[in-house]
Subunit: 257 residues, 4 copies
């Protein structure tokens, strides 16, 4: 239909098909989430409800698009790793970005009330997206390492910052206290002033969230009523250190083409 | 922060900056809306609530992004025309697409209950997006003409098809009746069999929806209590024929750089 | 042929098709021509043989590719303007660039001896190329204006610089003399110190070279032996001011789609 | 200089920087070489002078651009492999293509008379170029395999075809004889009808040409006049089978990043 004399304008459409056989990472980021989190009273330094909502949405995207091998999230961002030889939407850049960003946003609004039952959304939140190509496994792992290091550095800073503020300092004073400090300094402040051992904080805050299909042990009964344990593939959300080689040794399938 | 040894992976990011001084049209489309409209019992051939929800979302996007000069919507799609010399997000393709598609989706879910108070969303709807560059005013107008002709052709077909089905034909029979027919034939079927004058149907169905800033007459009282009429710029949603030159003569500002 | 199991590697090839209905300008530039011109004893500030060789090559390219509407050259660069609706090589960027740059280079070496009969090429000269898209006639004209202004500014500087050097100054002294001077100052130096009226210098140096098809008057005899003058289209190389409106008024066909 | 009000037109220039850390292959192809080889009386099925001229040009390009790791040529085409982490011209696509294609063309014309001393060029030859990105070593090797298989298939066909023609068949008859034949059939025709063992033909025809830096043994005398053999790195042109693993085992440096 619409086979009109105006249809020639379709010739102006351009498609960027991303290279075949290369890792694709779609990363989405909250737009203006500094303001959004303030307007919706997110707890500082981390709001567990907001993180769980992010994980819920990411899991929906993960389950919807079979070609996503792994997802990693921290704060208001999430990265989705498509397998190297995915042909999802023929690897068209705009389709990949807009599909992921739209479905994620849709879930964020739809499932908001499950995590924030006491307050309605004051205005529509939104996310932007991009896709990055990584030729080798090493690049992909370094990308994920980069995001997990980012999570750690931000979280350590924010945890210390808000501890100082909650203890009575102004935000400006807290900033000055932390200027030029190293990780060890912040750990020390947390421990000596607030009795907090940073490494005992919840892993979701320190490590971010990883979504993947993993084998889990499922217990059931056999026909004689005896308990049996089976290994079954299931989408899981975990909060491990993915920088270590061990993580990948245990899940070699992640890097299979 | 996150100035780690892994940060080199940012070098793999690519930005496509669209040519300066050229019309940009971001078009979003519902993904799988055939299934979505069935699952949510949209009325056939047109569901006025669904169209008004689309218009609500598009108006939010229009008001949020000052560089959008005009928007045109029909069915489950909407086109947003950015002024030629817009530097929104430095004309970065991914940012433009993801921002529009995400905000639109967010609004769709957030305002859903205003238009469908009786039924909750069964699953998260999503949209994809693209951006197209048009060098000249003629191309831009032909693009909009293309979409409005598409609206007309689809609506005339669907109106006749559903009239036949509601009158007792099966969907297959209705399809066969319409195969190979011209517009005049469908108009004739509607008039002779169903007493419907197609041109009297609501313009929102026949012409789609146009969002723009227009001068409207606002009535108020002066300090003596006498009624005065002022012309004020305001976002409006109209359902006119934009193929005709008259539409553009009345709004020459639309094509200003 | 070569339908082997390795042929899948073609899937990695990417084509950038430039937008339809937009001006395309392919510009080529000599690579390392500072060194090349020194090695081949080009006269300073302008070597008429080198410029005529450039024009010869550009005319070959112009005549070979029917879709080139106009070419403009100065120094060791040449710009080729393809008509807006050209479908040459399906507007594939790499094909456009490599075809023009290769044919130009080939001519440069092949016709070298016609302009430099006394010296052989010491090593193979080369050019690089790019293509730029200009949506509107105004952009295209401003592009050409930009290059012609560049020609003028460089030529005025070089003419004055080499006059100073030839009169006995060192190159460093000449540079210092010219630092911070305006056009009027350089004109004055040329006139007062060297008796040179800049505007009387050959137009090829001051204005560069323009290649186009123009109507020229061709004289012949009719069957009675009487002289007749006919207007005929012919490729010409001219050295006019293309910034002035008059240039375009006389050749309105240049901007026709 | 040329800092004029027209300089804004530079904003329309676009650069495509190819992904980092990925193999780049620039391939050039003769344009219209069917006609060119006929016009210059190339011998059939292979003209050794033409192939050696190609190799001469390719070696000049290889020696000029340090980042080229290997080059492979057959017939009127040549592929240049840049090392994965090359930053030549900042990996700008147009610069890479135009530099290689221009230098190659320049050499072709400049060195023509060394290989064809008896006939001048009738018109300027030209080449087009493209660049292709290959993420993994496997892709790169399969690319080279693809070209070498192409060389073999074409050469076997052409060798048989021209043997038939030289023996008295018309070109049409030769074509018909070869239609649908497999390699074994063509080998058999060559052997039984023309006493030619295909595998004894010169490797340059059967395998194409590979340019690389290899260790060669150089004989000289030490200070006592005794002959010594040293291994030295040198650009060489070889005609080996690069599909076999052995080729790469002997030259593992080729795939080093």
């Amino acid at each position: 239909m619409a086979n009109s004399k105006y249809e020639y304008v379709r010739q102006f459409e351009r498609e960027n098909r991303l290279l075949p056989d290369i890792w694709l990472v779609v990363r989405i980021d909250g737009q203006g989430f500094h303001k959004f989190s303030a307007a919706h009273n997110f707890e500082k330094p981390n709001d567990i409800r907001a993180l769980q909502l992010m994980n819920h949405c990411a899991q929906k995207v993960f389950d919807h698009i079979a070609d996503i091998r792994l997802a990693y999230g921290e704060s208001d961002e999430y990265s989705f790793v498509f397998r190297k030889n995915s042909t999802y939407y023929n690897r068209r850049e705009c389709k990949l970005i807009s599909s992921v960003v739209s479905l994620f946003t849709s879930c964020y609004v739809l499932y908001w009330s499950q995590y924030f039952p006491d307050q309605a959304l004051k205005y529509p939140p939104s996310f932007d997206g991009r896709v990055v190509c990584y030729p080798c496994d090493k690049h992909l792992r370094d990308y994920l390492n980069w995001r997990q290091v980012d999570c750690h550095i931000n979280n350590l800073y924010n945890t210390t910052f808000w501890a100082l503020v909650k203890s009575g300092k102004t935000e400006t004073e807290a900033e000055e206290t932390l200027r030029g400090t190293f990780s060890a300094d912040k750990n020390e402040i947390l421990f000596s002033q607030f009795g907090t051992n940073y490494n005992n904080l919840p892993p979701i805050f320190r490590k971010g969230s990883i979504i993947l299909q993993d084998f889990v042990e499922v217990e059931s009964n056999d026909k004689h009523g005896n308990p049996v344990v089976k290994r079954k593939k299931k989408t899981v959300v975990i909060h491990e250190d993915l920088i270590k080689q061990k993580f990948w040794n245990q899940r070699s399938f992640l890097l299979d083409p």
